[in-house]
Symmetry: C3
Subunit: 266 residues, 3 copies
C-alpha cells in the first residue's frame, strides 16, 4: 500500500484518503499511481458499489507542490509534459472508472486539487471549504481539466474572473452555483459522502456504469449523438438481469434487490 493513500472499506463503499497532511495533501507521483491503481481494482471488484475520494487532516488537496514545480522548469519540455500527463491520466481514471466517484471536500481544494474534486461524479462539500483556481497567482495556467469542469456550471464571464484572479469560492458558493450535491457543516463531508455512496451502491451496477458514461459524454455531444448513445445503452439494459429484477419488483410492488446480481454474469 502507498504511504500517501489510505484505503478502507465501509460496506460496499471504497474510501480513498489522501495522506500528505504536512503539505495539505499536495499532489505527488506516488499519489497519482496509487489512486489510478485503486480505481482500476475497484472497477473489477463487484463488491465495490461506489468510491469516495477525500483528503486527511482537514484539507482536500492543495494542488501541485510548488517546490517541485520550481525544479521542473529546469526540465526539457518533454519531461514537463510527461509529468502533466500523470495528472491528466489521474483525471481520466476518475472519468473512466465505471463506478461512481464522490469527492468529499473539507478545507482547501486549490489548483489541481480543485480539478480533481470537480473531476469526480458527485461532490459533497463543507460550507467553509475553499475552492480556488490558484494558478494565476504564481504565473501559471489551469490544468487537470479545471477550465473544462468549471465551465460545466458557471458562465464564461465568471469562469474568466475565477481563472484570472484566483479568487476563492466557498463550499456555500459552489452549492449556490449548482456543483455541490450535499452542502454540510465543517467536518461532516466524509460521513455524508459515505452515506450518499452507500445509498447509491445499492443500485443496478451495470446500468449505473452506463449512466455515468452518458452523463460524462452528453455535454460534448450533439442531440443526435446522445440519442444514439442513449439508444445503444437502453437496448442493452432492456435485456439485462438488472432490468428483469427492477421491472418485476416494480410490478410486484416490492423493493428490487440488485446486490444479488453482482457476483453472477449476464
Amino acid at each position: 500500500m502507498s504511504h500517501v493513500l489510505v484505503t478502507r472499506r465501509e460496506g460496499a463503499v471504497l474510501v480513498l484518503s489522501h495522506h500528505n497532511v504536512a503539505a495539505r495533501n499536495a499532489l505527488s507521483p506516488e499519489f497519482y499511481t496509487a489512486v489510478g491503481h485503486a480505481l482500476r481494482e475497484a472497477a473489477d471488484d463487484p463488491s465495490v458499489g461506489a468510491i469516495v475520494l477525500t483528503g486527511a487532516g482537514g484539507h482536500f488537496c492543495a494542488g501541485g507542490d510548488l517546490r517541485q514545480l520550481v525544479k521542473r522548469r529546469e526540465l526539457p519540455v518533454e519531461a514537463r509534459r510527461a509529468r502533466l500527463e500523470d495528472l491528466h491520466d489521474l483525471i481520466r481514471s476518475v472519468r473512466d472508472c465505471p463506478k461512481p466517484v464522490i469527492a468529499a471536500v473539507e478545507g482547501a481544494a486549490a489548483g489541481a486539487g480543485l480539478s480533481l474534486a470537480m473531476a469526480c461524479d458527485m461532490l459533497v462539500a463543507a460550507k467553509d471549504a475553499v475552492f480556488t483556481v490558484a494558478y494565476v497567482k504564481v504565473g501559471l495556467t489551469p490544468d487537470g481539466g479545471a477550465t473544462a469542469f468549471l465551465a460545466e456550471f458557471v458562465s464564461r464571464q465568471v469562469l474568466t474572473e475565477l481563472c484570472l484572479t484566483g479568487a476563492p469560492l466557498s463550499g456555500e458558493r459552489m452549492h449556490a452555483l449548482g456543483a455541490v450535491n450535499r452542502l454540510v457543516e465543517s467536518g461532516a463531508a466524509l460521513s455524508h459522502a459515505i452515506t450518499l455512496a452507500t445509498e447509491i451502491s445499492k443500485g443496478p451496477q451495470k446500468a449505473m456504469g452506463r449512466i455515468k458514461h452518458l452523463c460524462r459524454l452528453t455535454m460534448h455531444h450533439s442531440l443526435e449523438e446522445q440519442l444514439e448513445l442513449e439508444a445503444q445503452s437502453m437496448v442493452d439494459a432492456m435485456g439485462s438481469d438488472e432490468s428483469m429484477e427492477g421491472i418485476q419488483a416494480f410490478l410486484n410492488k416490492r423493493a428490487p434487490n440488485y446486490i444479488q446480481l453482482r457476483e453472477g454474469s449476464e
Copy 2:
C-alpha cells in the same frame, strides 16, 4: 383522429392533449404516430402560430409502459432498437417542427415523459409537478434525450445524481434550476401555456422558425459555426416581408402586423 391524442384549436394555438389517463399517459406507438402527424400538419398550416403539448387527467406522462417493456426484453435487439427509434423520432419531430412547441406539465413527467417535456421549446409547469429520471429504479438507463436535455441547465454533478438515484424534482425546483418559463399553481399549467403560446403566435412566423433553429443548435456549435448560422439567417431575414413590416412599424411608431403576412408568400 387517434384515440390517445385529442387535438383542438385555441385561435392560432394548436393544443395536443395526451389521453391515456388510466395509465397516467404512459407512452404508446399510437401516441408517437399521432403527435408526429399533428406536428407535421401544423408545420404546413400557416394558421397555426404555436403548439401546446399536455396530458389529460392531471399527469403529463408517466413514461414507458413497464408491462410492455417486460415483453420487449424477449424481442431481438433489432426490434428493441426499432421501438426506441419511434420514441426518438418523436423527440426529433418536436425539435424539427418550425413552430414553437410549449409543454404544459401537471403531475408526473417521469422517464421518457420527462424527456418529452424537456424536448419542447418552452416549459410551463405547476409548482407541484414531479419530474423524475426514473429509469435507474427499474435497472434501465435514460432515453429520449433525457441526459442531453437535463445537461443543458444542471451541472454534471447534479445530472449524475438525478440519473443515478431517480430522485424527484418539483416544478418549483425545475424553475429554480432555470428550465421553467412559467411556474404556476397546480391545475393552471395548460391555461398559462395557451396564454404564452397565443402571445408568441403573433410574432413573425418565418423569423421565429429560424430563431427556434438557432436556439436548438447553438449548444452544439463553436462560436464560429454559430456566427455563420446567425449570419445566414440574418441575411435572409433582412430581405423578408416580415422585417419590412417590422421595421416600418417601428419607424412609424405603430404595432407590427405579422398575421397578414401568413397566407401570402415571400
Copy 3:
C-alpha cells in the same frame, strides 16, 4: 482618432467609449473599424493590461441602426452579408484580443449591443441596465453571437423565450443568471469596471492571455481536447519568467511583481 470612439488611459487600463449618443450608441461601420483597430494596438502594447468597453451618455449600445437596415434590404445578398461580417469581425476581435476585455453596461444593451456586451470576457452592469434580444420585434433574427453567448448561461427554454419575445432582462436578472461579474448602482458601471480592470492588469500578462484563450474554447471542446490545450499552455507557463517570479515570490512570502516583466522578452 475616430469620432464615434473615444479612447483614454487609466493607468494600465485602456478605456474605449462609444460616442454616438444621439442614437443611443447605435452601431456603425466607423465604430467597428475603430474598436478593431484599438484592440489590435492594445494587444501589442505591453503597457496595456486590460481593456474596458463602454458607451457614453447612459446607454451601452442600442444595436443596429434601423434606418440603415431599411436601406440594406435593397442591397444584393452578398453586400448584406459583407456588412454582417463587419459586425462579426468585431466580435472576433474581442475574442482574439489577448488582453481581458470588460464591458461596462448602463442603460440599453439591445440587439447587437447585447451581443457585443456578452462577447466581452467580463461584465459589469448597472442594476437597471436593460438587455434585450430585440431582433424578433422587427422581424429579424439574432446576430453578433447573441444566441451563442446567451446559451452559455441560460437554459434552452429561457433562451428560446428571450429570442422569441425580445423580453427585457435587467442587470439584476442577468446577475442572478450568473453572467454579471459586478452588479452596481445606476451610473457606477464604468468606475467599477475600471477598478476591476486595474486589479486584473497587475497579473501575469502572458499567462492571462493563455487563460483567456482556455476560458473561451472550453465550452466547445471535449474533455480530452481541453486537457490537451491546458497541458500545452501549462508546459509553456512552467518555463516562463512569470512563473519564475510568481513561485519565487510565493516561496519567499512576498507579493509577485509581474509589471517589471512586461517590457522584456522571454
